[in-house]
Assembly symmetry: C2
Homo-oligomer: 519 residues x 2
């Protein structure tokens, strides 16, 4: 009885104090953690073939709303059942990156330990732009930079690396560094040659311009629009049949641009295009760029990771001639997103992207501690210590973990390409250089003019059936089906099942019916 009444009093007190301290109780944290770990273990153990479980947004919204407390004026108590339901719904309604049915995007099925380390980061919440606040992440960035630079091959004393929240931000940052180097007044005064739509360049000055492979990621042309270059000042370099920049066309294209009043200060090549995973001829581009005094930025968001493999490194031959390289570890290094590394050949260049004054974060006099700060070199002020998952995996398992997984994925993709060549109703559209494979389903009775819409319809049908998840991409203006092999548990057998699925939904979609619909 005494115990009961004591419990009652404790309960009342707690209620009176509000539940704020309960919410911060380490014991609750422990229970909550165990709840989600149980659920995640279950999820990771499920090797069934799953695509998307696509739900009407209105229906899902209602379900989510029903999971919200209606209490507004006092703190509602923790409810384990509600947490479980939310986590279930969260897992079930997302992209199934760990299932062999997931074949459609470059998002990683993360290496589980990477998720565990990221959990620590979420709780300790160290902001990694400043050494004093996040010492180990800053040191880990240096160690990881040195490890990876061994495969790039720059002078260990003069290269630099910063982490950024995603590949788009890395591309933007590199282009800013290039812009500010070529046009030192741009930062303070804007474009040196304002270019009204249609009007001539002011005072006969050339307009700053960026040359890119015609299939470069959309974040690069976006960056031109963002940083005041203007998207119209993008010069697109023609591609060959393998979707790589044609070397013989680069010089003539740049010369033609110059005649149109453009001053190309930066060239962006891809190491693994998003569409098909094509690698531009980096070494040759690097030589030309150096001759013409142009900055060469390599968007290796997808493909830079191949550098860690002895067998695949040659795809980036000549990378040491680049000025900067963007590398998404959240793609082919399989860590939680985002985790992007931006490398510069010359550490002086890394200081040129931004300028700032802020007495509350930047110290007046540098010391051994602030020397490791990256706040002046990266866009973010508060930056997640994203390096930690990558560094811990590398520290624990070594380079071979990444090399082996990447090699398996690329080898499998080659096998799938061969497998497709033996199927007369499928058309391959490129020779895969990495783990992206694009192809078209072309049954004999499909008319040429229907090929595009037919692929789009097939992709949508597949998506809605929910067994496999694939994507699509336009190649030379015509849609193709696209698989990205991110999961080493995928086998040729899974791919055969996918082809069956494609044939099945295709048979249900006679070209003639499609034609009627597309009118």
């Amino acid at each position: 009885l005494e115990a009961q009444s004591s419990n009652l009093i404790n309960g009342l007190c707690r209620q009176r104090n509000g539940l704020l301290s309960d919410v911060f109780e380490p014991e609750s944290f422990q229970e909550q953690s165990h709840t989600v770990v149980r659920r995640l273990v279950e999820h990771l153990s499920d090797s069934s073939i799953k695509g998307l479980d696509l739900i009407d947004p209105a229906v899902l919204s209602k379900a989510a709303k029903d999971l919200m407390t209606s209490e507004r004026d006092t703190i509602a108590a923790f409810d384990e059942k509600r947490l479980s339901e939310i986590v279930d719904l969260y897992i079930r309604t997302g992209i199934q990156v760990h299932s062999p049915g997931y074949l459609g995007r470059q998002f990683s099925g993360v290496i589980p330990l990477g998720g565990v380390v990221d959990f620590v980061s979420a709780v300790v919440n160290q902001p990694s732009s400043f050494y004093e606040a996040a010492q180990l992440p800053n040191v880990a960035e240096r160690l990881m930079a040195d490890e990876l630079n061994q495969f790039i091959g720059w002078d260990p004393d003069s290269f630099a690396m910063v982490t950024t929240s995603g590949g788009s931000l890395a591309n933007l940052t590199a282009l800013l560094a290039a812009r500010n180097k070529a046009f030192p007044d741009f930062w303070s005064h804007g474009s040196p040659a304002g270019s009204n739509a249609g009007s001539q360049a002011a005072e006969g000055q050339a307009r700053p311009a960026i040359a890119v492979g015609a299939d470069v990621h959309y974040s690069v042309s976006r960056a031109a629009g963002i940083i005041g270059i203007g998207e119209s000042q993008i010069v697109r370099l023609p591609l060959n049949g393998d979707q790589q920049i044609r070397m013989d066309q680069v010089r003539p294209t740049l010369e033609a641009a110059e005649k149109r009043g453009l001053k190309v200060f930066c060239l962006v090549a891809s190491a693994g295009t998003t569409s098909v995973g094509a690698f531009d001829p980096i070494g040759e581009l690097g030589e030309l760029a150096r001759e013409l005094n142009i900055w060469l930025h390599v968007d290796g968001a997808h493909g830079a990771s191949l550098l860690v493999s002895d067998r695949l490194r040659h795809r980036l031959r000549g990378i040491e001639k680049a000025d900067s390289l963007a590398w998404d570890a959240h793609k082919m290094m399989f860590v939680p997103a985002p985790c992007t590394l931006l490398f510069y050949r010359d550490k002086q260049d890394s200081l040129g992207a931004f300028r700032q004054h802020a007495s509350y974060v930047f110290d007046e006099e540098p010391d051994p501690y602030t020397a490791l700060d990256s706040g002046d070199k990266n866009f973010e002020c508060t930056k997640r210590p994203m390096i930690m998952a990558l560094w811990v995996l590398w520290a624990m398992h070594g380079r071979a973990l990444f090399a082996e997984k990447i090699e398996q994925l690329c080898e499998l993709t080659e096998n799938l390409h061969q497998l497709l060549s033996g199927e007369p109703d499928f058309e391959t559209v490129h020779r895969p250089e990495a783990n992206i494979l694009c192809f078209r389903y072309r049954p004999a009775d499909l008319r040429d003019e229907d090929v595009h819409g037919f692929q789009v319809d097939i992709r949508n049908r597949i998506k809605h059936r929910g067994r496999f998840f694939i994507s699509k991409v336009d190649i030379d203006g015509v849609a193709a089906l696209r698989v990205v092999v991110m999961n080493h548990r995928i086998t040729p057998e899974h791919f055969r099942l996918l082809l069956e699925e494609i044939r099945l939904v295709g048979s249900d979609l006679p070209a003639v019916a499609h034609e009627a619909r597309s009118r």
Copy 2:
């Protein structure tokens, strides 16, 4: 014996297959998770007063390097001891956001459940820019936007919200939307009036310019440098003694800018400046901005969260007159970083920041699913589902959790300010409006010309002693000590201990000695 030999064979097989599949074993994930949960529970249970344990980068680097496997050619096996050591080092060498000794920055001691939810996000790795890949996060964004807009007060049918990776990116995005609205050709063609350093605007056109409170966050003036406006085209609005924009000076300052050939298209106010937590007069600025047809962006990275409190909401009075609002949930909503919400009064405006074409992610024809995509409205392509921690906390505990914690922090800060007023050797420099308090230590014998250097030295001494962590900021050109009360477990008693610590290190730092050193 049979069991033994079977184990041996299994072991050999596993070795032959490589350890790749071991690394993905759900059982290992479970053990690793339990290891870090144990360590995090210990950490969260520690309520001792801790500042920084600042280690020489070279020493820490050596320690970290020693934790890395030297294996390069085969996958090294998981080592639980190594994981524990890494996690220990990680926790120990970072900012101690959960300790009452942590008084120096705006980084949150996260609500633990927020960390747990973020853990799920790390493992399931759903990219939230696209509904089909991350259905619940996209729905949660809409629900959370509706919840918070109740306190902003915009038309529920026509406002919009996107999540972005940090406040700097939210400010950049809002400025881009404003730029592209005022200058529709800027995206494609760059600045409408190129402004060579020192030269006149081309063809007599006004140069695009941005007006800001003189103490705006550095990310705003950086954004001007980034987006091709030019940092010199920043017009700084004078502040009053409470570090707020002086309304009587706005119109004259804008008029003077116009005479200098500037066209101000955007005005940036702060709802909680970083330095002192000052709130600009948003409602009055909003009225003026509408009259002058200028976009009003409010950087509420720190202070927007006060909107959820009935007692504190008035600090942002008139917020419904703004065009956009940046709101860091990773500050005063206490979720893992980054988690920033960018609100627009008019959803049409939210479409103006970026333009893009990318057949691999953007569908040709919008449908009920793609209607929820944010990829066209946010900078990121791969975006972490950052909303999840915030939404789950809100769903579970309701608004009161945030309101109560914020009210406690602001009330305590007011109390500390009163407490300081009673200490003759301390000088208060502003009336705190939120949970940031700046002050100076001025013992009687300190000469005026030494005040600045003395505060800087005190801050550094405090930092190196490692008991408390505080920051410093320049106010009207003179350094001040700065505390940010982010932890509701901090009491006036802790603050008294901090004042003792300041006096102690101050007594050790005679002004005269300081003077000698600063020469």
